[in-house]
């Protein structure tokens, strides 16, 4: 494993632990909810599910982008753009969800569910945004043709890819726990 991929992997280990702890807080107050809005009364799992599909799809396009990049194919640029668009749609969905929750009076201080929900999904959204920035950077470099295929440059591409899959993977867990579980 290269230096940068190793560093990103270690970072991801740390981040995974961070999300695990936010999830534990969420689950704790899922078990002892107290008063105020809960997941079942506030969330729309169906619609968030659809937006989630965009995020999951972006992982696939990222993989295709990476494959094309390694094959030195110009299709990489297109797949990266697709990843950006799909990730962007997911983020848009989350912003919309937040705005609706806000409009219906579900803010971070309304209930223990709301606080843990917003910290958990908020930090995930932040990670998605950071990931999109990183992807935008390699997309631009690919677009203007300055991203070569040396080992170092391939590492940079690979590191972004690992990170993006991680962001995606975390959402699988969060979506299952926060959205699906609430309605079981």
């Amino acid at each position: 494993m290269s230096k940068s991929k190793l560093a990103v992997s270690l970072f991801i280990l740390s981040e995974a632990n961070f999300f695990a702890l936010l999830i534990i807080a969420y689950l704790y107050f899922h078990a002892y909810p107290g008063e105020g809005p809960t997941a079942a009364t506030s969330l729309n799992a169906y619609r968030t599910g659809i937006f989630s599909i965009f995020l999951f799809a972006s992982s696939a396009t990222m993989m295709l982008a990476s494959r094309s990049y390694r094959a030195k194919s110009s299709a990489a640029f297109g797949w990266l753009i697709a990843t950006l668009v799909l990730g962007g749609i997911f983020l848009f969905g989350q912003v919309r969800e937040y705005m609706e929750l806000y409009a219906s009076g579900v803010t971070a201080n309304r209930s223990l569910f709301a606080t843990t929900f917003f910290t958990l999904t908020g930090f995930h959204g932040l990670h998605v945004a950071v990931g999109l920035l990183a992807i935008a950077a390699i997309t631009i470099l690919t677009g203007v043709g300055t991203l070569g295929t040396s080992a170092r440059e391939a590492d940079a591409f690979g590191s972004v890819e690992i990170y993006w899959h991680f962001v995606d993977g975390v959402w699988v867990v969060i979506f299952t726990i926060v959205y699906l579980w609430a309605f079981l």
Binding site: N17, Y32, T116
Partner: protein
């Protein structure tokens, strides 16, 4: 990405001597300069944290003192603990590792030099932010572990705890980046021949410690995020009055807090594991066991956190589990103590100041470790926790342990960093004054705790012996002040007039001693071959190289 850019930058600085000076430090991505800046920042905060301790001890010298108000007193001990842990011990160890690790593994810099600079500056920023609270309405006053709901806005009116959260987040991010950097440096940048089994123990323990930080720091970061939501967004995660849980904070905090103790002590073990063998003139006893026990400690440190919570009332079974797991962690710690002691035997012990601190470390840390075992015995914890017995215990671990080891490390590596020796005569004074002052301050505190004096009180009733013992402790604290002045004097005067060190003044064996003192920007002209754990020993005694001895023993 960054190391080529960094080397360009260094080359550029070299080519422009007018840029050498202040800017060469601020803009530096050189691990040696960053390491030194880390240590200087730690020294600065050590002064502040020490000053806070002195005010605390002055206030407690006699019952009924009015040197500070109760709230100021609370701010002082909260800041003292936070400062010493997050702005002194962690940064000074981060600085030592940043300086030494690349040299020890024969690399020209750390894996990510710019990230290294980022780590330093962001942790410094965190420290400055924390201290800014003093002029922004008041410092944190809920203790270094900010138990909820006392740390919630309903009970802590100033913004101190908010600054505490943000400051710690800064230190946490910096430390995490530093940990990743060190782990990658050790795993990826070792000179050929330095297999993982030939890694100096300092690197071994730093590697393990990096993993400990990678897993433990996100725990506090998550807790801080939730507490921040409570404080700034008016949420109630940790306020029971609104359905939150005060105990949840304790689980989160100590889930980080206990590994944190090992984050502070493993690098101290690492220093001791280098210093003792060199000055005993023989290899570390039981290398595999010292390294292996470190790994064991790292794993176990995540399963002992609730021994900080025996008084919470979580049930006997729960308490017993954590009591026994805590006792278990004493086993790998004991293995280390015995191996260091065994390293002394049949050696030829050169009692330099570094060695004096290292040997004193063994005994002082043993006291701290044993009093730690008494906290693992659940019923004893029920009496002794949150008393001065605990204050004594933690200072024997973190001062008699970590700080003694750090002094050993500074006396050991100062010649490498500065090119000059620290004065041994002044060093001898420094050691003895520290040793006496430290024991004077903290030994009596065991007894005060057993007499029922709780920690974090700004005064106490005038009962028989209470004043005498507190006065002894206060006198000890001022003796420690003298020791620090002697130490600073030694540094300043040695920097100007110290004996020239030469490449390898201690006759040591690891690679950092193969280059000049201080090392050139690129560290090495030529890295010596590595065929064993002690490359410079092998060079000096080719007929008795470690690998030959080992091969002969294997026959």
């Amino acid at each position: 990405m960054s190391d080529i850019a960094a080397s360009d930058r260094i080359a550029e600085l070299e080519a422009n001597p007018e840029r050498i000076g202040f800017l060469s430090w601020v803009a530096s991505v050189d691990h040696k300069q960053i390491g030194i800046m880390y240590m200087l920042s730690a020294l600065f905060f050590f002064g502040l944290g020490g000053l806070e301790a002195l005010i605390i001890r002055a206030q407690l010298a006699m019952p009924g003192n009015h040197i500070v108000t109760p709230d100021t007193f609370n701010q002082l001990f909260s800041m003292h603990g936070t400062t010493m842990i997050f702005l002194v011990v962690m940064p000074v160890l981060a600085g030592l590792t940043a300086y030494v690790i690349p040299l020890m593994v024969g690399a020209r810099d750390v894996a990510f030099p710019r990230l290294n600079a980022f780590s330093f500056w962001v942790q410094l920023f965190g420290g400055v932010l924390l201290y800014f609270s003093f002029v922004a309405g008041g410092a944190p006053n809920a203790g270094w572990f900010s138990y909820a709901p006392l740390s919630e806005p309903a009970y802590s009116f100033n913004n101190g705890v908010t600054y505490w959260i943000l400051g710690l987040a800064g230190v946490g991010v910096g430390s995490l980046a530093g940990a990743i950097n060190m782990a990658v440096t050790i795993l990826k940048l070792r000179v050929p021949g330095m297999t993982i089994r030939r890694l100096p123990l300092f690197c071994w323990m730093t590697l393990v410690n990096s993993f400990l930080m990678i897993f433990a720091l996100p725990v506090i970061n998550a807790a801080l995020v939730l507490l921040l939501a409570d404080r700034l967004l008016n949420a109630h995660i940790f306020t029971p009055a609104f359905g939150g849980s005060a105990i949840l904070w304790q689980h989160y905090f100590w889930g980080f807090g206990h590994p944190e103790v090992y984050i502070m002590i493993l690098p101290a073990f690492a220093i001791i594991s280098e210093v003792i063998p060199v000055f005993a003139g023989k290899p570390i006893y039981g290398y595999e066991f010292v390294a292996g026990s470190t790994v064991a400690i790292a794993f176990m440190s995540f399963a002992v956190w609730a021994h900080h919570m025996f008084a919470v009332g979580l049930g006997h079974l729960f308490d017993l589990f954590f009591g026994i797991s805590t006792m278990a962690i004493a086993v790998p710690t004991g293995i280390k103590i015995f191996n260091w002691t065994a390293t002394l035997y049949q050696g030829r012990l050169r009692f330099t100041t570094a060695m004096k601190f290292a040997v004193a470390f063994i005994v002082m840390f043993t006291i701290g470790g044993l009093s730690g075992v008494s906290f693992a015995v659940v019923p004893l914890d029920w009496q002794l926790t949150d008393t001065y017995y605990l204050v004594a215990h933690l200072h024997y671990v973190l001062f008699g342990g970590a700080i003694f080891a750090i002094f050993a490390g500074i006396y050991y590596w100062f010649p490498k960093m500065s090119g000059r020796m620290l004065d041994e005569r002044v060093g001898n004074w420094h050691f003895w004054i520290t040793f006496i002052g430290f024991n004077l301050t903290f030994l009596v505190q065991h007894l005060l705790g057993m007499m029922g004096m709780p920690r974090r009180v700004f005064t106490y009733p005038d009962w028989p012996w209470w004043m005498t013992l507190n006065m002894i402790s206060t006198i000890g604290a001022f003796v420690l002040l003298i020791s620090v002045i002697v130490f600073l004097w030694n540094i300043v005067s040695s920097l100007n007039h110290g004996e020239i060190a030469g490449d390898n003044p201690w006759d040591a064996w690891t690679l950092e001693w193969a280059t000049s003192s201080p090392p050139p920007v690129e560290n090495f002209d030529l890295v010596p071959p590595v065929h064993g754990r002690r490359p410079l020993w092998d060079l000096k005694h080719p007929e008795r190289a470690d690998e030959l001895v080992a091969a002969a023993a294997g026959k």
